[in-house]
Amino acid sequence: MKQPIFVTIFISVHIVFIFLQIYKHTQQVALSFQKQKNERVFTTLQEKKQELTNKWCSRINRSEVKKVAIEQLGMKPLQLSNIKRLTGHDNQE
């Protein structure tokens, strides 16, 4: 009587271990896939960042900024003669 019980328990435990091993492996694969998906998202975000950086660089094109400042806003380049020095007063900022 004891022998069949022992054999049954022995086999059952091994089956459980096998299932646990399979489960562990599937979890590993699932996490690996998740990590790879995140890597892809990261790459996409980096490309997006680069694209935005390029757009920002083209927006701050100095020639264009100057053109807008002069033609649309009516600004003029600063000359030394435009700067007045205040003497004998405290700085009130």
Binding site: E47, C57, R62, L80
Partner: protein
């Protein structure tokens, strides 16, 4: 009861089965053991592959650390798979018309799996291919460099199609910028889908390290504009401006005109890619007089107040050599010889120096490299006393038989601004590897005399137009005939103005240079000095030294 016959048949059947199993086992042995290595490799090829990831090329920043001077941009490249073209006729016609280089390569690559049509396509080329709607042409994304500040092209340089530096900073610091690739071993399924089962690093690479230059991108733009307008005014072929911080040797702006567009290298003029401030040398003329004056004062062969007879003429002979000067003068103090830039006076003083003048020029940095980390730097030339003619000392005294780069000239003025302490010019911010010397190479009292001479030159001498009210400006001009086919041409000149602008602790060294201005009776006091004033004004406003 089993008969003998049945036993025999059973035995034969048994033997047949044994034979069949024997064949199976033998085949298994053959496949698993004898050809095991072969099939194992075949299987590995299916589900193991090695891949190399190249890091993106690192960016180059200006001195603020926020403005890009070079960074990466995505570019599309077009390719075909020659072995599997569906419509040869249409493709050939399209390539023949629009991409003749690719069309000529196609016959030799018809067995290949991959062939580029063109890399880094322009927008018009992308539109052309898109509109053609050819199923055999594909796009792939690659990285290319983009340079927001076009005037830094001959300083920063450019890269080739594979993002390797070709010249300038991109070449000098290529290894640092590109990093090293990382190699992985991936385990994938046989369908070789997007995902892998395991990833093993074979060799670890490094990311590229960004560079921060000492260049101020905004100042560079302002000066580029100013120089461009100035050269147009005089219809000049070339010009250059250099702005440095004499205390640290940092180069704040380095502009050469004309320059090329580093973002459009389809048709590139190689001549325009040279950084003429570092890689070209010139006989600079009278601006070198300050160096001969420094040498003479340091050797004690003259004092600033000593009266020098300048013969009261614009032309005279000394040692058989005809010497011309622009402003005639009589017997004047040596200081006035420099202020009025009198060739006759300086030649007489230089004769007292003799071969020691050569040693002083070498001490000041002429005839050797400055130590800047930049490819193609020229060290210039100083005529050695062994090769002197009777008149060489005269030529050397006012800037001939000595050729120097504008950077070398700026370094001399930095040394003067630093009370005799020389500097090593810097292009990289916080460069700890190169430290300037802390010992003066000329005594401070001699330097003080030189500074006074330069100040007087600006106040009432040849560089009056370089003066800025409210600021101390110490400057010197030089007009030099160009050597064309072995003869000095009086109609073709180079005009230089170099000086120091100072207010309190703030100091900047500015060098302006114009080559071949159109007009008669032009001198550096008219062509280069006003440009110095404009550049210096832009610099002090930009840096808010008011």
């Amino acid at each position: 009861m089993i008969t003998r016959n049945e036993k025999a048949r059973a035995f034969i059947l048994f033997l047949i089965f044994c034979l069949c199993y024997g064949i199976i086992i033998a085949n298994l042995y053959h496949i698993q053991i004898m050809q095991g290595e072969f099939f194992s490799q075949l299987a590995k090829q299916q589900y193991y592959l090695s891949t190399t990831q190249t890091p993106p090329r690192a960016a180059i920043y200006d001195r603020s650390g926020k403005q890009f001077l070079a960074h990466n941009k995505q570019a599309l490249s077009a390719f075909i798979t020659p072995r599997s073209i569906s419509d040869h006729k249409k493709l050939n016609a399209f390539l023949r018309k629009n991409f003749p280089a690719a069309y000529s390569q196609l016959p030799s690559k018809k067995d290949k799996h991959f062939m580029y049509i063109k890399r880094h396509l322009s927008q018009s080329e992308i539109d052309l291919i898109t509109k053609a709607k050819l199923p055999d042409i594909y796009f792939l994304t690659e990285h290319r460099r983009f340079y927001p500040v076009a005037s830094t092209g001959n300083l920063v340089g450019i890269t080739d199609l594979d993002n390797n530096g070709l010249f300038g900073i991109e070449l000098q610091y290529n290894e640092q910028l590109k990093g090293t690739p990382t190699t992985y071993f991936l385990e994938k399924d046989a369908r070789s889908g997007h995902f892998y089962l395991s990833k093993q690093m074979i060799s670890q690479g490094k990311e590229g390290v960004p560079l921060q230059l000492t260049i101020d991108a905004d100042l560079q733009f302002l000066i580029d504009e100013e120089l461009s307008n100035w050269l147009q005014k005089y219809n000049s072929k070339e010009g250059a401006v250099l702005v440095m911080d004499p205390k640290t040797g940092e180069i704040l702006a380095m502009v050469c005109h004309p320059h090329f567009d580093p973002n459009n290298t389809q048709t590139i003029n190689q001549e325009l890619t040279k950084n003429k401030i570092i890689t070209e040398c010139y006989e600079l003329g009278s601006v070198i007089k300050i160096c001969s004056a420094l040498a003479a004062l340091a050797e004690g062969v003259v004092t600033p107040d000593e009266l020098i007879d300048c013969k009261n003429t614009k032309s005279t002979y000394i040692d058989g050599r005809l010497i011309n000067t622009v402003i005639e003068a009589g017997t004047i103090p040596f200081t006035e010889v420099i202020v009025k830039s009198n060739n006759i006076g300086i030649a007489q003083v230089a004769k007292r120096l003799g071969p020691k003048l050569y040693d002083h020029y070498m001490r000041m940095g002429f005839g050797k490299k400055t130590g800047i980390q930049f490819p193609g730097e020229q060290k210039g030339f100083v005529n050695h006393p062994d090769k002197w003619s009777k008149q060489s000392i005269i030529s050397l005294s006012y800037g001939y038989e000595v050729s120097a780069s504008l950077l070398q000239l700026a370094c001399v003025f930095c040394m003067i601004a630093n009370d005799g302490v020389p500097i090593i010019p810097q292009l990289i911010k916080n460069n700890q590897t190169t430290a300037s010397s802390s010992k003066p190479i000329y005594p401070p009292d001699v330097i003080a005399i030189i500074k006074d001479m330069l100040l007087q030159t600006t106040e009432h001498g040849t560089t009056k137009r370089a003066g800025i009210k409210g600021y101390t400006v110490m400057s010197k001009t030089g007009t030099a005939n160009m050597l064309i086919d072995g003869v000095y041409n009086k109609q073709r000149n180079i005009y230089t103005c170099a000086g120091i602008i100072k207010k309190g602790d703030y100091q900047r060294v500015v060098v302006t240079f114009v080559k071949e201005a159109t007009g008669s009776e032009l001198y550096a006091s008219i062509v280069a000095a006003p440009l110095f004033e404009k550049v210096a004004t832009k610099t002090i406003i930009h840096e808010r030294i008011v």
